[in-house]
Symmetry: C2
Subunit: 354 residues, 2 copies
């Protein structure tokens, strides 16, 4: 056994353990995986050598040979706000409880990055995947299905009907928020749109529209500006809205970050929140509490927990029915909203309300 000199340190492999225990490496593998028949003395001898040599299985080789790695993945767009952080935290916690570990893959919403990760995953990088707010899901969903990779979708109630999906009531939350503003007396309500590629954005927009419709308020496309779920874009969107000839007295933003942007814009323009402008966000981050933002609270930790469970279920029971759960949002009322002050402009519009 001459030393191969390129490798400084010989890693202990299953073969080393086998030799030390006087058995074949197949037997060691069987002991390690509780597979097939093993003599009791052999098992003990092998385990002893495993312990003595400090053997640790090579997960890469395992993966290549088609075995489980006990590593699960979560593909996310990016860490905007601490929404994703909270989610990751709860997913990770729940997975840990079941003996799995987590790897998080940020894509920045770049389709190329998504496919890059997906390719790695198909090759056995992880045993399963939670996919949050994908950009180009349709491109690889068939592949995931064909290769029977366990996965869970995290976004919209309307995502692919055959997939495991954990979602929140986007439509209902938006509807509730808008109803609340209408209830305060607002009739000119702006909306800062989320990322267009996300189903949740469309659902929130539609919830907003439905509430308007129900109160016989005509939907005005001028009152919708894109905010991309981002603070700076929310700022811009609000600037646009507030510069309108007939500006809104309230804004429902598709998420907290863009709501913060709207508040900043109002401040910059000398417009008082909530006296002159009411703002409602969506997500219910910790930050919203600090900033006294009225927001649609989505129980993100619960979503993460359910997603983790659903994924483990897919991994352990691939032929079962994919879990589909929708978690209810709730409107948390704080101090960023008030009845509208500029009643005059309403009369000018001829909208006196019920």
């Amino acid at each position: 056994m001459s030393e191969t000199n390129t490798r400084r340190f010989h890693k202990i492999t299953i073969v080393d353990v086998a030799r030390a225990a006087g058995v074949s490496h197949a037997t060691v593998s069987r002991v390690l995986n509780n597979q097939g028949y093993i003599g009791e003395q052999t098992r003990l001898r092998v385990m002893a050598e495993v312990e003595r040599l400090g053997y640790i299985a090579n997960a890469t080789a395992r993966s290549l040979a088609g075995a489980n790695s006990y590593l699960l993945g979560m593909m996310i767009p990016e860490f905007y706000g601490n929404y994703v952080g909270e989610l990751s935290q709860s997913v990770d916690l729940e997975l840990s409880n079941s003996g799995y570990n987590l790897a998080i893959f940020p894509t920045h919403g770049h389709p190329e990055k998504e496919t890059w990760y997906i390719n790695r995953i198909i090759n056995g990088l992880v045993d399963g995947l939670i996919i949050m707010l994908p950009q180009s899901l349709n491109q690889y969903l068939p592949i995931l299905k064909a290769q029977q990779i366990p996965y869970v979708l995290l976004d919209s109630e309307r995502a692919d009907p055959d997939s495991a999906v954990i979602s929140t009531t986007n439509w209902q939350g938006a509807y509730d928020a808008t109803r609340y503003l209408i209830g305060l007396g607002h009739r000119r309500i702006g909306h800062i749109l989320g990322l267009e590629t996300r189903l949740s954005s469309a659902e929130r927009l539609e919830g907003y529209q439905a509430a308007l419709h129900e109160s016989d308020i005509a939907f005005d496309p001028l009152l919708v500006e894109p905010g991309f779920f981002r603070l700076d874009m929310g700022y811009e969107a609000a600037r646009q809205l507030l510069a309108l000839p007939n500006p809104p007295t309230a804004i429902f933003a598709a998420n907290d970050a863009s709501a913060f942007g709207a508040i900043k814009a109002a401040e910059a323009l000398g417009i008082n929140v909530p006296a002159d402008l009411s703002v409602v966000g969506f997500d219910g981050q910790e930050k919203a509490e600090l900033a006294n933002l009225t927001t649609v609270h989505a129980p993100i930790a619960l979503v993460g927990q359910l997603a983790a469970r659903a994924l483990i279920d897919r991994v352990k029971n691939p032929d079962g029915v994919p879990a589909r759960e929708t978690v209810a949002t709730s409107l948390v009322i704080r101090k960023s909203c008030a009845p509208p002050r500029r009643v005059i402009s309403e009369f000018a519009d001829g909208n006196i309300g019920a």
Copy 2:
């Protein structure tokens, strides 16, 4: 018990490409990796087949064979606040610019989880690793070195001298914060300690002590309570401090989260911040701005960027000198601090000051 990977679809391998192009799979590999000599026509033919068949290399097999995966990792404790989220974001962005991708591994500070990930990494899960605030670094640092895994440490200026380290001026930041409080007239200044296992905690404690010493204020161990970098523990710590017979008029917390906890505790006790209690944090998160917290701002995005660069440097140039950079913190003064009101108790102590 084991779920056999019944692969329904034959994946296209390098051998398929080779056959289609009429060459050996070794030639295809060489074409793909720009290794050795390849005839121009052969290269073209192979590339055409790669394209036509939609071949994608199996990263797991590559990794087993000892090649690069262009996936880099970052091991973090957990997503407390959005500190880690911000860091991940900047690391990821910088790596992306250089064609690398990122996987994030959360450990919850559990040593077993750390070693679990490290084992995977040694087996080729990723090409290199950024290690943030490790719990049991000493256990695997020798292994990382021996196996020549490129890595970068993210914590303290004092971490292992042979390693690449990106850090912030923990000592100086704590010193500045404490000096500021002393400058306001405080002489009884409490400290909420960070996680004891983190070098940064010790450095911040020492900076605090140094500032006290410089102003001839005796260090009182009673004024230091552990906060574990957590909001709830910061709350508890502040409760303890404020219940003291001679309570502090100011608190320097080891991070923003525990500072928020302290503020909450003060509120709960009816103690006004800043009139009756000044509070300074550390980190300078976005949340600190919203909450008007005076804090030692650490430019986390810059740290992430430098760490990413340092790691790429290690990967590309393993025999070079490991990068070591310390990023300066800066005290951001907001509205959570004021001169002390209870001058009487100082006289009672006999500490009239210089």
